[in-house]
Symmetry: D2
Amino acid sequence: MQPVMTIEEVNRFLETDFPQIHTDGRVFAVTEIIPGRASMRLDPSERHLRPGGTVSGPALFTLADVTAYVAVLSHIGPVALAVTTSLYINFLRLPKPVQTTCVCKILKLGKRLAVMEASIFQEDADELVAHATVTYSIPPR
Amino acid sequence: MQPVMTIEEVNRFLETDFPQIHTDGRVFAVTEIIPGRASMRLDPSERHLRPGGTVSGPALFTLADVTAYVAVLSHIGPVALAVTTSLYINFLRLPKPVQTTCVCKILKLGKRLAVMEASIFQEDADELVAHATVTYSIPPR
Amino acid sequence: MQPVMTIEEVNRFLETDFPQIHTDGRVFAVTEIIPGRASMRLDPSERHLRPGGTVSGPALFTLADVTAYVAVLSHIGPVALAVTTSLYINFLRLPKPVQTTCVCKILKLGKRLAVMEASIFQEDADELVAHATVTYSIPPR
Amino acid sequence: MQPVMTIEEVNRFLETDFPQIHTDGRVFAVTEIIPGRASMRLDPSERHLRPGGTVSGPALFTLADVTAYVAVLSHIGPVALAVTTSLYINFLRLPKPVQTTCVCKILKLGKRLAVMEASIFQEDADELVAHATVTYSIPPR
């Protein structure tokens, strides 16, 4: 399972083809692409926070979803239009209003379906704030 | 399983205690509270749309999550602070950029955990655009 | 969404092509096939029970999985080989050692993927003992 | 997160308190207990196989569920009665009729809820045959 796109290529592709992730400023960035894996970082803005100063559920959902998309995209290339078919997320600990990282592992990259596992954490990679399983449908190539 | 709050009481509670759902204008509204069930409506704004004119995944996630919250809240009352512990969503059909309804059924309202099933549709209630299962942790009462 | 097989045809197909569900005696039976829906009944034997007299988790899992299979099969016909791609089950109430019913609704029957919702109950259809969401991969037809 | 029971203690506890896992012979065995993690092995018997020689879905479900139970048990001790509240499993590759391993990581061990991630593989630990997320309810201690 070898990536076919670099971090720069993916960031550029997101910019042109997926501009909505930058609606609230440049808060999402791809930080790692290695075989079978991609990582992203969210620098939460006011909009992603909740009273009490935690990162919102929808922000964590979006982070898991976009990182899974980047994992698929970077391994099959920019031609294909993959769409989320399901996302299961467990909220494990109350996140703080700080930089948040998502590491997404490809469990299976089939012809029609990709299954990914996403771990979301903040300062301590062993203390997950959320964990997700994401499936994407892959169009015929 | 009898509701203890009316639609008006829940809408007012959301306004004061959950103002972030109105960040993008008054797009979410509670439309039904009956025993074991609550419904909401999303009138998607530009922000909830994606190129191609579909309602975004995070918008559908938020609709399912908030409707599940309203279902719990309306049946246990405004004192308790319930938090989402997990959400599983299946995206079934491409949504159109139109009014979207979520009907949420309480499957179990336990002492510590509530489990809800949410059906999201648009013009035709038999053609779901998404389906979710949501669990909330309920604080000791 | 019209069924293309009757209860008798499905029961006969299971008998010849899926004999393992009868390993412990004739405990599973299809009870209903209507447009978009199939139901089954489990008469739990000793093997499906746990100390304390409840129906085991694996027995409920199997009931949900087989009923979802029957829902797909009865609507696409016996030629296709559908396989479970995922199953999410919530255990809601402790089941009693009695007859158990699963009602399975087809949420989406796509070309490649079917998504079903399964409600499992015993004496009272409003008091679910378990609730599952099941996805099946459908082979090219 | 330190284990409070050894492999031998857990195996002995399962023998006396959970004899049903040995109904089909001694096919399940605990193979590892380390901080935050437990592993088990399934040596599938005829009963766990399907025509075509694959390990059945219910057998993989049971393996994930029992390993998650062992992960909780080994970290909180044998006094408590933990019960599965939900299990989400993705079937990734067709399993062969051979020894099957489940490695289960504790993502969160809270006061009321434990969340675990289970990876199931056979010869190659990088080629998962299934992946599960399991939640257990933990009784007041």
